[in-house]
């Protein structure tokens, strides 16, 4: 029961009303949305671990080292060639895209400024981030695979094209965070522009550039479509970059999930999925740790 207050004292107690009920309801709905997001995340991770852990860890390290059974009906590991393929293709793509992207961003921010050329390039880089990955795959097919055949390098080219605009964007962001007075201090000591960029600006922006690039690498490692058209579907180890078809984890997952109805193949697909997820999570985690510990604060 509402107690009576002495006269003259204002009553500030909360009053139940439909307005506050409505607000609380909306907050509940928002929290429900959060749960709605958590569920698929947990569900997917759970499935991946549930179905994949068995085959990946049972006869460790067989899954990582054995070749892919050519006859997909056959049960058992492994995905060795696919892991090597993913590392090879993604690694090469990184070696192409990151230097190009960083240098390109350096031009845009340090030399290009607001000029017409820089604006066009920035705009086109934004356009490029929206290119569907399958379009990139077909493009590489037409320009590389047709002439040079399936190879890890073709896949690397396709992934590099996907990574390039992302690296440019995130690097330019990092360069913007380097304060102008740091450049001025270097100029005042008689350093040339290129010297200043190489010895002062880039080292200062480096942690951010590294974490941005790691995130781009993580995305590339998970890409499937471009590789379908460039890499092929080998089952044996192929450490050669330029010759012969290769394979990758993402391609294997796709192939095993669609084409065959054999449980063994499906198991391997889940195992490959688990491996891929672990790889991308590792890359992302490293990127986050880097940002947290080393990057320039805004």
């Amino acid at each position: 029961m509402i107690a009576t207050l002495p006269p003259g004292v204002p009553d500030l107690r909360a009053r139940p009303s439909w307005r506050s009920k409505k607000s609380r309801l909306m907050t509940l709905l928002m929290a429900a949305a959060v749960v709605a997001v958590a569920i698929p995340l947990v569900a997917v991770l759970y499935s991946v671990i549930e179905h994949g852990a068995a085959i990946v860890f049972r006869a460790f390290p067989d899954f990582f080292t054995k070749e892919i059974p050519v006859v997909s009906r056959r049960a058992g590991p492994g995905m060795g060639p696919a892991i090597l393929g993913t590392l090879l293709v993604t690694g090469t793509a990184t070696l192409i895209a990151v230097p190009l992207g960083v240098l390109g961003a350096v031009f845009l921010h340090e030399y290009g400024g607001h000029g017409a050329f820089a604006r066009v390039v920035r705009f086109m880089a934004t356009v490029m981030t929206g290119v569907p990955s399958i379009v990139m795959g077909l493009f590489v097919y037409l320009t590389w695979t047709l002439h040079f055949g399936y190879s890890a390098f073709g896949g690397a080219l396709a992934l590099a094209c996907l990574m390039l605009p992302v690296v440019i964007g995130s690097t330019e962001q990092m360069l913007r965070l380097v304060p102008a007075h740091m450049r001025e201090a270097a100029y005042a000591l008689g350093a040339t522009k290129s010297r200043t960029i190489l010895t002062v600006v880039l080292p200062a922006a480096l942690p951010g550039i590294v974490s941005g690039s790691l995130l781009a690498v993580a995305r590339a490692a998970g890409e499937t479509a471009p590789l379908l058209f460039a890499v092929g579907a080998a089952t044996a180890y192929n450490p050669h970059l330029f010759t012969e078809a290769n394979t990758a984890l993402s391609v294997q997952i796709f192939g095993n999930a669609t084409s065959t109805a054999f449980v063994a193949a499906h198991d391997r697909a889940w195992g490959a999925a688990l491996t891929l997820v672990m790889l991308t999570f590792l890359l992302t985690l490293t990127a986050r740790v880097f940002t947290a510990r080393f990057a320039l604060k805004k």
Partner: protein
């Protein structure tokens, strides 16, 4: 006399040119893409003309390539994805920025980031085996829509969050000072301010959903020629068709698939550009006050 001429700095000039060349790679690659892909689409376009876009008859052996069903499929699944994703993303973004206790914010942001990192093919795998088989949803527009929704939620959420956080504190405090509840404050101060940016974020999500190949390919059902509004029917979308049919396609068929890719490219570019323009305009407006 003082000599202020200095040595000629070859290295300095060379560096500038190298950096310029690197930046120009973007233009070169995009130009090549546009050129080679359009070039290779010509055969099928010559054969089919505008019917390529209007007919829904797609039959490789007969040389008939009408892409209408796939264009429809792409747009339809993307729409389903957006319809599912937008309320969820908005809810999450609002919760994180307005209602969550501080200790909960970071873990939730991490959770969204984790969702973004999972490769699309893994989502496709899960969708194919768990969603469609286990839960009996089968391969259909709806299943594809759900998977796509899960994949675009992180994008929409993080962009919406950024826009919402630019709401000036004074606006929010003004509402609260008048006795508004939290939801009323959101409706009065946050949403009007962030409207433009949220629309842009949604469009970016839409663009991504349309271009997403693999997840869709695994669960959409690969049905031919179905233009139907029934979401439970199996259907097809442009990227899925390309991925599934490429392996055994002859020259004309390949040309058709490439034409499909170009169509997809153009649609997604237009949507993405419009979205970027909207987001940038709303951010600029809010920063300028």
């Amino acid at each position: 006399m003082i000599d202020l001429r200095g040595k000629v700095q070859h290295a300095d000039t060379a560096f500038r040119w190298i950096a310029l060349a690197a930046a120009a790679t973007v233009l070169v690659v995009l130009g090549l893409i546009a050129f080679t892909m359009t070039d290779r689409s010509l055969p099928v376009l010559e054969r089919m003309g505008l019917r390529f876009f209007t007919s829904s008859r797609w039959s490789a052996p007969e040389g008939e390539f009408g892409a209408a069903a796939f264009i429809f499929g792409t747009l339809y699944t993307a729409t389903i994805a957006v319809v599912i994703a937008v309320p969820v993303s908005l809810g999450v973004a609002l919760f994180i920025t307005q209602a969550a206790p501080p200790w909960l914010k970071k873990p939730m942001v991490y959770m969204i980031d984790l969702l973004a990192v999972v490769p699309s093919v893994v989502f496709g795998l899960w969708g194919a085996f768990v969603l469609s088989q286990h839960f009996g949803l089968g391969r259909s527009f709806l299943t594809a829509g759900i998977i796509l929704a899960i994949m675009i939620i992180p994008i929409i959420t993080s962009l919406a969050r950024e826009v919402i956080e630019t709401t000036p504190n004074t606006d929010k405090e003004a509402a609260l000072a008048l006795g508004a509840t939290r939801w009323e404050m959101i409706r009065a101060a946050v949403l009007p301010h962030s409207k433009g940016g949220i629309v842009g974020a949604v469009m970016l999500g839409l663009g991504r959903a349309m271009g997403e190949t693999i997840a869709a390919a695994l669960v959409i059902g690969s049905a031919l020629g179905q233009i139907s509004a029934n979401p439970f029917k199996p259907g097809n979308s442009m990227p899925a068709v390309i991925a599934n049919e490429w392996g055994e396609a002859d020259e004309l068929h390949k040309s058709a698939l490439i034409a499909l890719a170009v169509t997809l490219f153009v649609i997604t570019i237009v949507v993405n550009l419009a979205a970027t323009a909207i987001v940038q305009r709303s951010m600029r407006r809010s920063r300028g006050g």
